[in-house]
């Protein structure tokens, strides 16, 4: 009954004109962001956050807008995968495998519709999963003390870092860089650190500046470097009809892929890319040789799209209940929450139920909006894909600058953002993942606070960190999550081999 009451509360928030408008706008923007190659969900959300602040939106509205963008981007990623053979974002990589062959065979419209429906199934089931699982997890999280939180943060770094890079040392290094940056400014007791007398640094580095720099601006540099190399030979989109038989035939595929994707999303660090990869691989194995995966079969586009959209919803679970993001984009969403002075975690469900349940209700509605946008209206987005990069890229840059500038009005922040952009580009060249850096900047303060609180409670006894079963379990998972990818790497290398 609790659930129904909560949902009623949620819908009472979501069904206002204002919220609905933001959700529709977010879905629209998100689909565009997802569809444009090079502008992934994390970039898109990062650029839009400062702008949503300067609009003066309240917490629920800003969250609704941004998560709609996030969901929309996950839907939109498939459009350029299918039409251009370029994934619109990283999780849509697996969709190119069967989507582009289908498009070449003249079935681009079918592929778009099937993947649109699959996205809907995945995202919808994941939202239901979020609804059921999140309150339960929040209840467990109430038992967490400082030692457990410290272990939890470690777990997030270990798994996210372990997945994000091919080299554990590089991922760990990235996490440490992020933590180091988080230390700049005043600590919990008001002692200035690493400011070198610079007044701008006293408040610390705003994580939005770092995020927009590391994601969006470095993306511009990468694009400048690789310009012209990626030839995009578009496929004409024929008539869009609804291939009912194919959709029914891939029904079980969508359901199974949604489940796989959701689980992958809930695990901290795994995220949507892993969700779509696992979903595609498991369906391929189930179908066997007869399935002809990779040659342009409908199930081959249904599986990864259901998987990645389900993972996108799943990744919200740890972010909302524990304050630990499950993927790069949820890390950006966490930054949004923290800037709004909302502390995600178990208390969010008791203190601010209207935010959580309003969000969940909006996501349910957003899914239907997205289904409508991505099936009947898909042609509009196809047209937007034709915007030449020579206009798109400067536009992205200017929006990033104006966004940050309108937030702080400080040219120091703009310079800092450019510096982060250069840093991000250099690190990407060196194959050092940037997501752990963001995570480090976001969680660094909390992580230190919890460690110091734990040490104060135990009077400096380091064994306190391993004193509860939950903490020991988290440590074990953290170590496993960090070490396991070293062995799984051979398995994970496969998608590139398939893509070639």
């Amino acid at each position: 009954m609790d659930l129904l009451n909560n949902l009623a509360l949620g819908f009472s928030v979501a069904l206002s004109f204002n919220t609905l408008f933001l959700a529709v706008a977010g879905c629209f923007l998100g689909t565009i962001i997802g569809a444009l190659p090079g502008l992934g969900p994390s970039n898109g959300v990062a650029i839009l956050i400062p702008i949503s602040f300067s609009l003066g939106l309240d917490a629920t509205s800003a969250l609704v807008l941004m998560t709609s963008v996030y969901y929309g981007a996950m839907y939109g990623g498939r459009i350029s995968s299918i039409l251009l053979n370029i994934p619109g974002d990283e999780p849509a990589l697996m969709t190119t495998l069967d989507g582009y062959p289908m498009a070449k065979a003249g079935r681009a419209g079918d592929a778009l519709v099937i993947s649109g429906v699959a996205s809907f199934v995945g995202a919808f089931l994941a939202t239901i999963g979020l609804m059921l699982l999140a309150p339960y997890l929040a209840r467990i999280a109430f038992q967490f003390g400082p030692a457990e939180y410290f272990a939890l943060y470690l777990l997030a770094f270990a798994t996210l870092g372990g997945m994000a890079s091919n080299n554990q040392a590089k991922a760990a290094m990235a996490a440490c860089i992020g933590l180091g940056i988080a230390m700049i400014g005043q600590d919990g007791s008001g002692v200035p650190r690493f400011t070198h007398g610079n007044l701008h640094l006293l408040d610390g580095i705003d994580f939005l500046v770092a995020i927009v720099g590391l994601f969006a601006i470095s993306e511009v540099f990468v694009f400048l470097e690789t310009q012209g190399k990626e030839s995009s030979i578009g496929v004409k989109l024929g008539k869009v009809t609804v291939p009912v038989r194919d959709i029914i035939a891939s029904g079980w595929t969508m359901l199974r892929a949604s489940l796989v994707g959701f689980v992958a999303g809930v695990l901290p660090g795994a995220g949507a890319s892993l969700g779509s990869f696992l979903a595609y691989m498991s369906e391929k194995n189930i179908a066997g040789e007869k399935g002809k995966f990779g040659t342009g079969v409908p199930r081959g586009v249904a599986a990864p799209e259901a998987g990645n959209n389900a993972a996108a919803g799943g990744a919200l679970v740890p972010m909302l209940t524990l304050g630990v993001p499950g993927s790069g984009t949820t890390a950006v969403l966490l930054a949004l929450l923290m800037t709004l002075n909302i502390t995600p975690g178990p208390t969010l469900f008791t203190d601010k139920p209207e935010v959580v349940w309003g969000l969940i209700a909006t996501l349910l509605i957003a899914n239907f909006v997205l289904l409508a946008m991505n099936v009947p209206m898909v042609k509009i987005f196809v047209r937007i894909l034709m915007v030449p990069p020579a206009i798109l890229l400067p536009g992205v840059t200017m929006i990033s600058f104006v966004g940050i500038f309108s937030l702080s009005g400080s040219d120091f922040d703009l310079l800092l953002m450019t510096a982060f952009g250069v840093l991000g580009w250099v690190l990407r060249k060196m194959d050092v993942p940037t997501v752990p850096i963001i995570l480090g900047i976001l969680l660094g303060g909390n992580m230190e606070d919890n460690l110091r609180r734990a040490m104060t409670l135990s009077d400096g006894d380091i064994m306190f960190l391993w004193s509860s079963p939950i903490a020991i379990g988290l440590w074990a998972f953290a170590i496993a999550g960090f070490v396991a990818p070293m062995f799984l790497r051979n398995l994970l290398k496969k998608p590139q081999a398939v893509a070639d």
């Binding site: 702008i51 300067s54 609009l55 091919n166 080299n167 040392a169 590089k170 760990a172 290094m173 996490a175 440490c176 860089i177 933590l179 180091g180 230390m183 600590d187 007791s189 008001g190 002692v191 650190r193 690493f194 070198h196 540099f221 694009f223 400048l224 470097e225 310009q227 030449p388 990069p389 020579a390 206009i391 890229l393 400067p394 536009g395 840059t397 200017m398 929006i399 600058f401 104006v402 500038f405 309108s406 009005g409 040219d411 703009l414 310079l415 953002m417 450019t418 952009g421 250069v422 580009w425 060249k429 060196m430 194959d431 992580m447 230190e448 460690l451 110091r452 040490m455 009077d459 400096g460």
Partner: protein
Amino acid sequence: MIVVALGYILSATTIQTPLFPDPMGPKMFPYMIAAGVILCAIVMILRPDPEADWPPVQAVMTIGLAVVVMIGYAMALKPLGFLIPTAIAAGILSYQLSPRPLVAAAAGIGLSVGLFVLFRYALDLGLQPFPKDWM
């Protein structure tokens, strides 16, 4: 990276101790981070990855120019207002992507005006269109 980490430690030693110290104090955590960086750097030196393929000088120059443009833009935005620096910066970036001067100029001016209208009127951001003295 080791050098950076050592510098970080050095900088951390200058952190003042607060009036009411807790068992860990403000220095310990930065020390732990620096230790982590050093450890990772040693691992990376001992087990190096294949060298990253650095782009040709020309591409680095392109990016370098883009950085200069952004720095200039960051400095110019406050004193010169939105329209002029945006048109110039967007125009240069556009030219770097497709070297057709007329198209780039049009893209720069179009983006500048278009974004200004969008930000100022649709989103209601308080942007300064021109240098303050002109107003």
